[in-house]
Symmetry: C2
Subunit: 213 residues, 2 copies
């Protein structure tokens, strides 16, 4: 089994909730590094990555380019055309690894889903994509469970913190600096980010640029 | 295999980071409800719960009562005496279920560990408790990995968001209201807590008390 893995990706001005600590240029490079980590994991799990975005970027990957940035509309136009099973995985999951993705795609149910922190949906696996439609944003995890139920599709919820941990805010970088092993962690470290403990709580801090560096 | 599961528990004034939305009395009842959810999951995974605290509370459970509230000292005095394998699981993991705990205790390695959000350690399983000592607080996940390495113990990191999600702050209640099925979720709902979506982000709100209720 070698399903296509659709990876929605925003090239320009991504991850605005990280603006407090990263410039736009840095956020774009960071988002690209996270995407590469996800692609690595997806390939390692024997899936074929397909990046879905509004602009092409320099890569040998298969890319689907759409004019409309609406995630739901884009994916819902692709699902009915799909041949074989489909994985939809977000690009901001740099802790993803092959083991976790294999747990998703080896579900015995009609589909599998991995919730994101805060009610979102980070990964969906569909054996019959024609029978499902996505509805991201807000409490999408509960909406997707309802859509599965309404479509009479059995759905396994995969219990993985690696796929649960999406990187949106400064606090999330802690997880990446602790558990990450790929390019996005290396990029953060290159920028001078490191773990710090203050009043018993773990956070991140960024080393001030010195004139020598 | 039926390992003892040590569950450290603070009865009086627990979960102070929830003070913004719960009174002390409510926090104590909520902590107790989370403990009961953990105990249920532990028993369901065929482990024997042993609550470790500074004060006895009304329960038929086996309880170990210690005069010193220092978690590390308490556990490190118990580990060398242990016969057979030991699970140490925190009391604020109300999403814990038997399936996740079974993944922990069925590790092929000498020990297994589940990281908590923010660098903590939520669960440790030890086949030979005599060979390990705990060092909680701060970046305990990394410390525990180092102790394992120094003690020449192979250690599996279990990838579970159910055991990764400790409930410390208001934002964490979102996870409980979405994924919880036990007493602590029911208690929150009884207090009037519900999910809310504002500006696309999911949070919790508490219904104002009315004179009728």
């Amino acid at each position: 089994m070698c399903p296509h893995a659709l990876i929605p990706f925003k090239i320009v001005n991504p991850k605005t909730r990280l603006s407090c600590i990263l410039s736009q240029e840095e956020r774009e490079a960071f988002a690209r590094a996270m995407l590469e980590d996800v692609i690595y994991a997806v390939k390692d799990a024997n899936c074929s990555p397909v990046v879905v975005g509004t602009e092409l970027f320099d890569s040998e990957l298969i890319q689907i380019t759409v004019t409309d940035a609406d995630l739901n509309q884009t994916l819902n136009s692709l699902l009915p055309q799909s041949v074989g099973s489909i994985l939809i995985i977000m690009a901001d999951l740099p802790l993803a690894n092959a083991q976790a993705i294999k747990r998703v795609i080896s579900t015995g149910d009609d589909m599998a889903i991995v919730p994101g922190r805060g009610g979102g949906t980070n990964v969906i696996f569909l054996k019959e994509p024609q029978r499902f439609h996505v509805d991201y944003y807000g409490m999408s995890f509960l909406k997707h469970q309802k859509i599965a139920q309404d479509s009479d599709l059995s759905c396994e919820v995969i219990d993985s913190f690696r796929l649960h941990t999406d990187i949106d805010e400064k606090e999330d970088l802690v997880e990446l600096l602790i558990h990450g092993t790929g390019k996005s962690r290396a990029y953060l470290e290159q920028l001078g980010f490191m773990l710090s403990v203050e009043k018993g709580r773990v956070g991140v801090k960024r080393k001030e640029k010195t004139s020598e560096s």
